[in-house]
């Protein structure tokens, strides 16, 4: 059970670094390749933070939710209390974008009904349903949901820990605010131009033109831009940190390296790296051989740059579900 670094003083130093790094964040994203143990690590981190007296929410954004399975309780789209360690609180939620999408559709429908003549309602609604099924719509709804959960920090919770979907999905999702800010700005620029032409046209004869009140359309675009910009700030201003989870094998380590590089491009802080399920070197020939392979892979592909907290979790024989086990993982990560 000793960390495979073989140097337990160094390892405990890293764990304290990880804890320090996480304690300053209001949001923590936990991500990595599918199946590396993101849900376990995120709940462990959340528990460790709660154990220091904080109110913590662990939120699963992976459509294939496993938070409930991990805690062996039923978790849904609204937070439920999972544990209350040492005066802190740990809540869990499995985000369901479908509900968000439907609320959004309902709002758009209401606007349509208000703005369009009666005879067009049916056609417009059918068209709307089609748009709702567009591939990006589900993703955007998840983004909205993440943003609304993020807004809970500082009021209901001190920290939100996101248990994210596998790497590709998560990176796309995190890059959305920036891309959508650009998208909204282009549309606004387009509206600006169109309205400038309109103003010049209406003033051709009289030289006077009324400053039209900002149209509903532009108000909406303005609100959107502010929201996207705020989301972008939320994930890049240092209040958010990303914990990348991997296992010490060559393929996952390669994907991990890409994730780290991409986070840097997106301007998201890498708060720490967790190498999960390290094989112990002293438990039989098979595991010893694996341990040596892992050491070699880690030496070839170092998962974290110097200075980034790097914590290893050993391969364990127990079934890691339930509150007790999660508490144990939490202290192994940070203690």
């Amino acid at each position: 059970m000793a960390p495979s670094h073989g140097d337990s003083a160094l390892a405990s130093g890293s764990r304290r670094m990880l804890l320090t790094s996480l304690e300053t964040r209001s949001t923590v994203y936990v991500g990595g390749k599918g199946g590396v143990g993101k849900t376990t690590v995120s709940s462990g981190i959340a528990h460790a933070l709660a154990a220091r007296g904080r109110r913590v929410l662990v939120a699963s954004t992976d459509p294939a939710h496993s938070l409930g399975h991990l805690w062996r309780v039923s978790v849904g789209d609204s937070p439920v209390l999972l544990a209350q360690p040492q005066g802190g609180e740990l809540h869990g939620v499995e985000l369901d974008p479908q509900a968000t999408l439907e609320r959004h559709l309902a709002a758009v429908r209401a606007t349509m009904d208000r703005m369009l003549p009666e005879r067009m309602h049916k056609a417009a609604r059918e068209h709307l349903d089609l748009a709702a099924q567009a591939p990006g719509s589900h993703e955007s709804a998840m983004l909205e949901r993440i943003a609304s959960v993020t807004e809970l920090t500082g009021t209901e919770f001190d920290t939100v820990v996101f248990d994210t979907a596998p790497t590709g999905h998560t990176l796309r999702l995190l890059s959305l605010p920036e891309r959508l800010t650009g998208w909204t700005e282009r549309l606004l620029a387009n509206r600006d131009k169109s309205e400038r032409y309109q103003a010049a046209m209406s003033s051709l004869v009289t030289g006077r033109h009324r400053d039209e009140p900002e149209s509903e359309l532009r108000q909406m675009l303005h609100r959107r831009r502010q929201r996207f910009a705020a989301m972008h700030t939320d994930i890049t201003d240092g209040s958010a940190g990303f914990v990348a989870v991997t296992v010490a094998e060559r393929l996952p380590l390669a994907e991990h390296a890409e994730l780290v590089a991409e986070l840097d491009v997106l301007g998201i802080d890498l708060a720490g790296v967790v190498v999960n399920r390290r094989a112990p070197s002293e438990s039989g020939a098979l595991l010893k051989a694996r341990s040596a392979l892992e050491e070699a892979a880690l030496a070839d592909q170092p998962p974290a740059a110097p200075g980034t907290p790097l914590v290893s979790l050993p391969l364990m024989a127990e079934d890691l579900t339930g509150a007790e086990q999660i508490a144990r993982i939490g202290s192994m990560l940070t203690g």
């Binding site: 999408l101 959004h104 559709l105 709002a107 758009v108 606007t111 349509m112 208000r114 703005m115 369009l116 067009m120 056609a123 417009a124 059918e126 068209h127 709307l128 089609l130 748009a131 709702a132 567009a134 591939p135 990006g136 719509s137 993703e139 955007s140 709804a141 909205e144 959305l176 891309r179 959508l180 998208w183 909204t184 549309l187 387009n190 509206r191 131009k193 169109s194 032409y197 309109q198 010049a200 046209m201 051709l204 004869v205 509903e216 359309l217 909406m220 675009l221 959107r224």
Partner: protein, 77 residues
């Protein structure tokens, strides 16, 4: 007098109106892109702009050289 001034301003107004319409057409294209089969990364957000466009939709698709409504469910002609 008013009419004469309007007539005088006509060609100028027309050239401004053309450029304005180009901007509006681009906007429509972006917003309705998904429905026309152009993948739209922001479909979720564009759908809330659609109500503002339906009113001009008929003129737009004819301008784009599409004689009938390209949206299966918007039977405007």
């Amino acid at each position: 007098m008013k009419t004469l001034e309007e007539a005088y301003a006509g060609p100028y107004r027309q050239s401004l109106a053309r450029d304005r319409r180009d901007e509006d057409d681009l906007f429509t294209l972006v917003v309705l892109g998904e429905a026309l089969g152009v993948p739209d990364p922001a479909a979720y957000y564009t759908m809330e702009l659609m109500p503002y466009l339906y009113q001009d939709f008929h003129a737009w698709h004819r301008r784009m050289g599409i004689p009938r409504s390209p949206l299966d469910h918007v039977a405007c002609c």
